[in-house]
């Protein structure tokens, strides 16, 4: 049988550090889409809390407990990250593994917000995007999920096939922001 070599989506493309921003790739962890069946939202939230210690997130929220995270990912959809879902959740929700479907980049540093402002059409300033925020939006023309755990750290999830484009666009913006800062 063939001996397959595991490769993360952005392997070889990062790290990139320019000016006050650093782009890296997050360690690959399980990512599961959790989508409640019709009328099961409350039961699912209770089951999530019992099994993983976190309720179903409100729109725009990122919840975390230990290494388990639960991010709102759209209407009636959350991503459970860092662990596989308890099998009891299957009574209330469609569970879909997406672990290797996403490129999970991390942009951090004092210039991170300025870099993202070049591509992202939502307000990521501290007042509009507090710690514990999850934003489903665009990075350039790419659909993305942006997580803000706090500080000046932003996590950018785009489809795996978009890894090269995402790193290229972020690198261009990092270079431009650094050039402006140097004027």
């Amino acid at each position: 049988m063939a001996d397959l070599i595991a490769r993360s989506p952005a392997q070889g493309l990062v790290p990139v550090e320019i000016g006050g921003a650093k782009l890296t790739e997050a360690p690959m962890v399980p990512i599961w889409a959790v989508a409640p069946y019709a009328g099961k939202a409350a039961a699912l939230s209770a089951a999530l809390e019992k099994a993983h210690g976190l309720p179903f997130p409100e729109p725009g929220a990122l919840l975390s407990k230990g290494s388990t995270r639960l991010a709102w990912a759209g209407m009636e959809m959350a991503f459970l990250m860092g662990t596989a879902p308890d099998e009891k959740l299957a009574d209330h929700a469609a569970l879909t593994e997406q672990s290797d479907g996403w490129t999970h980049l991390v942009l951090e540093g004092p210039a991170a917000r300025d870099v993202l402002a070049r591509w992202v059409p939502v307000d990521l300033s501290p007042s509009a995007c507090p710690p514990g925020a999850a934003r489903r939006t665009l990075v350039g023309h790419m659909g993305a999920l942006i997580l803000h755990p706090g500080g000046d750290r932003f996590e950018i999830l785009v489809f795996r096939s978009m890894a090269g484009t995402a790193v290229h666009e972020m690198t261009r913006a990092m270079r431009a922001v650094a050039a402006r800062a140097a004027l």
Binding site: P59, G60, G74, M75, M77, P121, R135, R136, T137, L138
Partner: protein, 89 residues
């Protein structure tokens, strides 16, 4: 232009796709008269003022919205989940 998504808050127009007038929510019954289907598919008003139309928040929460706006002033005055509008009758 921004649309106030009920789930995501105010979002830039580039996250949305336009569908057409909210008439699309009122699909005639399968056995409705041809005139009703003709009206549903083809007949639209062209108001200078308030109108309601369907937008898809495809680059955000993926909800369908009924957006209220004014064709004369370009003001966007509200948006609701299409599902709620539909189920409210």
């Amino acid at each position: 232009m921004q649309i106030p998504c009920p789930l995501c808050g105010p979002r830039d127009i580039r996250e949305f796709t336009y569908k057409g007038h909210a008439t699309y929510l009122d699909r005639p019954a399968e056995d409705a008269a041809p005139e009703a289907w003709h009206a549903y598919l083809h007949l639209r008003d062209n108001p200078a003022g308030a109108t309601r139309d369907l937008w898809y928040h495809g680059a955000g929460c993926t909800a369908w919205l009924v957006v209220e706006r004014d064709t004369a002033t370009h003001a966007v005055t509200g948006a609701r989940l299409a599902r709620e509008v539909k189920h409210a009758g």
